[in-house]
Chain length 146, copies 2
Amino acid sequence: MSYIKKNENIEKLKEAGLKVTHSRCKILELFQNSPDEHYTADKLKDILTDNGETIGLATIYRVLTQLEMADLIQKNNFQENHSAYELKKSHHDHLICTKCGSIIEFVNEDLEKLQEHISKKYNFSLESHVMTLFGNCNKKDCKNLK
Amino acid sequence: MSYIKKNENIEKLKEAGLKVTHSRCKILELFQNSPDEHYTADKLKDILTDNGETIGLATIYRVLTQLEMADLIQKNNFQENHSAYELKKSHHDHLICTKCGSIIEFVNEDLEKLQEHISKKYNFSLESHVMTLFGNCNKKDCKNLK
DNA sequence: TTCCTTGCAAACGTTTTGCATCGGT
DNA sequence: ACCGATGCAAAACGTTTGCAAGGAA
């Protein structure tokens, strides 16, 4: 990662009122380096361990919560039993392959408009939404189950 | 509940290859009697206990799984930490009030078409989808938090 | 009578928390 | 030096499972 990115992260952490600690930097770096990757707490633990880091799982959970609060990462509950975090980007939804687990992000303007329309119909003040499409990705390497 | 409904349920259980037991009947009845209610396993346990039933939580989980397999009820993962089940009806999506937790069901044809369109764009074979809108219901009795 | 179903308790996987220690600022 | 951040272990939480006893067919 570049020095610019590192400094940016330091700024972001400070802005959020968080101390610039080793754990937080390492975790934030992982997200920065793979902007489209979706990490579970456990996956992060494995990667960090592989990288020679000795950051505890409890710390990872605490940092993930703080980074989410700071709007730096986004929490997704695709599966019922665990959460997947990704770097916060502009709004998007997900296509998820039920065979290989791969995730495709997409944005659709019509969809955004349609939500507003539906909300209005029910006199609802829309705050956020989740739209996830499940199916088969039909890719050559689909069988490579994760 | 009417006798007709009871008999219908017996038929449905038999069709699914499930024995017509007390637990299964009681649970299925609860869903039938409140077609729009969304029950967690725990909520069902409380209601059954209030009704003088002594059905164990493990049994409730087992029955819920079986009824879902039999396509009699539908499992929703609105919250990250627990599942909510409802009677299986024709396809619909949900509006959820973040203040009072109330759930409104809706169907929108344009939305269904749009999903197909998006899936095609990514060469995806669509199997199912989840569309949940979060916001405020703006109802008079909204503050009655559940 | 057969075997599925149930209740209970124990196990499970993910996430949270208490507490003493460590480390940014 | 201060007070927040961390590691560890234990707890918490929803859910699943093993097993012996019970119940529908």
